[in-house]
């Protein structure tokens, strides 16, 4: 098997970023759990987060909500990409190190 080429993972990342660009089109309705929590009257048990960074996928300080959502999506997509790649690479490297011993 050939290794996934750089072109293919860049294409995959671009696809993820395109989905992030479309995120303002997402359904505004509450999700399944929120709906059940509202219907069954336990939604008020939810506590507010102790801090807010990019809460509710709206990048702070941007008045245009669609733009703020898109920016939040792009930041999150790249962050998840980098963190997951880093974790995977760290695990992989350790295995390589053991093999050389």
């Amino acid at each position: 098997m050939k290794a996934p080429s750089r072109r293919i993972w860049i294409a995959g990342l671009c696809l993820a970023l395109i989905v992030a660009l479309l995120s303002p089109l997402a359904s505004p309705h509450p999700d399944g759990l929120e709906r059940v929590a509202e219907d069954q009257g336990f939604i008020q048990r939810a506590l507010d987060a102790p801090y807010h960074l990019i809460a509710d996928y709206v990048f702070p300080g941007i008045s245009n909500e669609a733009a703020a959502t898109i920016l939040a999506g792009i930041v999150g997509t790249l962050l998840v990409f980098g963190i997951t790649w880093g974790l995977a690479a760290a695990l992989r490297r350790r295995e390589g190190a053991q093999k050389r011993v």
């Binding site: 750089r6 995120s23 309705h29 999700d31 059940v36 506590l47 960074l53 695990l91």
Partner: protein, 219 residues
Amino acid sequence: MHIPDGFLNPATLAATWVASSGSVGYGVHRLRRELDERQVPLMGVTAAFIFAAQMMNFTVAGGTSGHLLGGALAAILLGPWAAMLALTSVLAVQALVFQDGGLLALGANIWNMAVVGVLVAWAVYRALARLWGQKTWGQALAAFLAAWTSVFVASLMASVELALSGASPWRVVLPAMGGVHALIGIGEGIITLATLALVRAVRPDLLLRRRTSDVGGAL
């Protein structure tokens, strides 16, 4: 179905943290032995795509929406242990940066979606692909049912935690959560199939390569 803080009681929070850290820890242990270098970029891309796709809520019925969880997609593309780690990093970023899902409830969300969601998807996919995997329609149906089942079972797991925490009685929360997620699971199945079809069209070897390998992964 990201559970916010406040829904679950301390005992349930503690139990789900223990269960999810143990499971992810075991997954990491397996990856240290098995993770193929060539999988590293694919893990990053899959996690990034799932994060973005989770922002795309789709309407199901009665003013309710759902979104992809991605457990089946990740398990089929990456195998169960790498999928578990990819989903865990998605959920951690959502809780820490986007305030989506509670910080204390992160253990429960990892347990429901990254551990149970992934392992159920993997088990269903493995069993059905073994039966029908020679045919393209068989692989597709296996992937669809793995996706649907993973969402449905993850929602039942969340219901159990809510009931144990006294948020809502068993007889109410189980059918309510199961019912709405039976619908959301159809969307999960369609998005999972569409994404796998795209991967298959562009790089079929990503789906076929682990057939003979010990890592797990597709078929």
